[in-house]
Symmetry: C2
Subunit: 393 residues, 2 copies
């Protein structure tokens, strides 16, 4: 892994970096989005379709080794050559973490000193560091995060302290297995306690890791609590190493993270939109929305997204966005996507996911340009203001 | 549409032709397979993945206007520019017919003098020629077949006669609507009656159509009955026009059709294999199968196909076929496909469908080369013999 910061905001901690991972031939600019996957597969987009997404932005994938617990034996994955070879994704960068938002939910009540517990569709699994490291050594990701004891925002100060102690101990146990290959990101927890967040960041910053994974967000803390918690973490981390976060997914939350100096984000938001039949339409590239572009006769559409299940799109022969150059907008009409949704054809989700991914990656590009031009805080303010106005119209 | 026969078998009626359709830029060699679709979409293979299949062979698609009855309004399809534009398949040749094997099944008891009845997931639909032609003029296929009154093999001679009378009448009514654009294939029926097959073919041969659609097969007739029925049809048709058939799907049945002089086939067999978790492995290109290549410890695999659900493939790190250059075999192992099937990931079907389509199209290529080299009947005999031996092993 190689990482270097190449531009800083003068106002605030946001920054643009350059990231290289494993044998992936691409260089990624950060802040960047990691596309989430299920069993190593991007949601709704077959591996063969991935090349139609913007390059290199879409070559950065998040994967979860726990998804394979009840499937193929880890020894077989290993003998095939790891996930890259098994999934046919050799040009892609794979970042592994044991948590995700829709399959493996951390279950802090059942975690104990031996390992972290996850609630999954196949029941509850207690994962110990040694087992986790077997998964990592078999799946061979380019980057992996250490096992974390994540807790929700409402636990006691004592539980927060325990979670930090365990997470630091597990980091040492994970690294102690001496699995070679991928870059290690040290997990940082501490719930909604400023002191524990600081303590955890300071402890982890002393370890020999390539970067940091900031866990324990998106678990009940409020938008207002978050900046101070992020500040407590990031100010205790070396500036030259990358920082990944999980659990910030709305555009407003991503902007909060970027302001705090976070470099890597997850794409849960895209998945949630697509599942709901929604398509992103907010302006990127600083162009303003034209109210006349939208037909807002349904309950869910606003100026930031439209609900393609709505009857008004049944005969709408225009693409989601005239200005979008994604595969979906170049080839299909709203009427066709509305039809596919009505008849429960999975191509609806594929087309929506392509558009939404395209659109969200475009937002990240715009953000990077804003940071480089030292206009990020202004962009953030205008963007949030615009979304707020749009959603009350 | 352009069609010319460019090579004949000296022994038998099999032939190689060249077909051009609509504005599709490709020239297809026949005998050819039309890939079947559901609501215009190829099974399991997103439109964006189609280019990974062999070109130009995979650019020939079968579509069914009846699939859109309960979906998008036909006027909207028309305003979008027809199926080519709506589906984003502008380079593809689309051949329309109202029958298919898994969504619209002809229901001869409910057909009457006004129209043909089809059993569909959304109930029974009686389709009259004028309604059918509205669908054709909206969907704008490159080729369409006239409405047929198909009957199963066991109906009375009287019912066979009625079906021919109706099918001829409906052809005149369909053509009478003067829908311009696609080439017209006249439907030929007659069930299992040699005389009615002859009479129908003679009647339709007198009409101004570009080719022929041979219906009423795959509806209960035996393999032994079929050659005489096909002979009765084909010998009454002009040689210079193409002949399409529906309902012959096993390799042995396709070879029967080709021997009789049929040029175009449907791909129901591929779909059935994929649904069953089966991958084709029979030798094409004249290479003999090596028994040691296969592990035949399960109940369904034989030397012509393997059942990837079988436990023996759980740790098999080789591709379906080492010699196959399809996307699936170039990128994935049997173990991974077995895993995907076990965890019900739809990518399993996508990968199987890609391989099976690739393999079946290769068989068609081999058949065309055999006809050109005047070795077809020999190839057919060896192929059927080999499959028969394989399936009793
Ligand atoms: Zn788009
Ligand atoms: Zn293959």
């Amino acid at each position: 892994m190689k990482f270097r910061v190449k531009a800083w905001s003068k106002t605030g901690r946001s920054r643009v970096g350059e990231l290289e991972l494993g044998s992936c031939p691409h260089t990624f600019e950060t802040p960047a989005l990691l596309l989430s996957t299920r069993k190593g597969l991007p949601h709704f987009i077959s591996p063969q379709l991935l090349p139609s997404l913007p390059s290199p932005d879409s070559f950065l994938l998040q994967c979860n080794p726990l998804h394979f617990i009840e499937g193929i034996p880890f020894e077989t994955v290993s003998r095939i050559g790891g996930l890259h070879d098994m999934l046919g994704l050799r040009e892609y960068a794979l970042a592994a973490a044991p948590r995700d938002s829709d399959v493996c939910i951390p279950e802090s009540n059942s975690s104990n000193k031996f390992g972290a517990s996850f609630e999954t569709p196949s029941g509850r699994h207690l994962i110990k560091p040694i087992e986790y490291m077997k998964m990592i050594s078999s799946t061979k990701p380019d980057l992996w995060t250490t096992l974390a004891d994540e807790v929700p925002a409402w636990v006691s100060q004592k539980r927060n302290r325990t979670s930090v102690d365990r997470t630091v101990k597990w980091l040492d146990e994970c690294i102690g297995q001496n699995v070679t290959g991928g870059a290690v990101f040290g997990s940082i927890v501490g719930g909604s306690s400023i002191e524990e967040r600081q303590r955890c960041a300071q402890e982890i910053a002393r370890r020999n890791v390539s970067g940091y994974w900031i866990g324990g967000f998106g678990l009940g803390e409020s938008m207002e609590q978050r900046p101070a918690l992020l500040h407590a973490v990031v100010t205790n981390l070396p500036e030259e190493k990358p920082r990944q976060i999980f659990g910030l997914s709305l555009p407003e939350e991503v902007l909060q993270g970027i302001s705090a100096g976070v470099d890597l984000f997850d794409s849960t938001y895209i998945y949630d939109l697509t599942i709901g039949g929604l398509a992103l339409t907010f302006p990127v590239n600083g162009t303003e929305p034209h109210p006349s572009d939208y037909q807002l006769n349904d309950n869910v559409s606003d100026f930031t997204k439209i609900n393609l299940k709505a009857t008004i799109y049944r005969k709408d022969e225009s693409p989601i966005l005239d200005s979008c150059n994604c595969y979906t907008c170049q080839n299909h009409t709203k009427a066709y996507i509305n039809h596919l949704l009505n008849v429960h054809e999975m191509l609806a989700q594929t087309l929506l996911e392509i558009h939404n991914t395209h659109h969200y990656l475009a937002l990240f590009r715009t953000i990077r340009e804003a940071i480089k031009g030292d206009r990020f805080e202004e962009f953030k303010h205008k963007f949030i203001q615009g979304r707020r106005e749009a959603s009350v119209l």
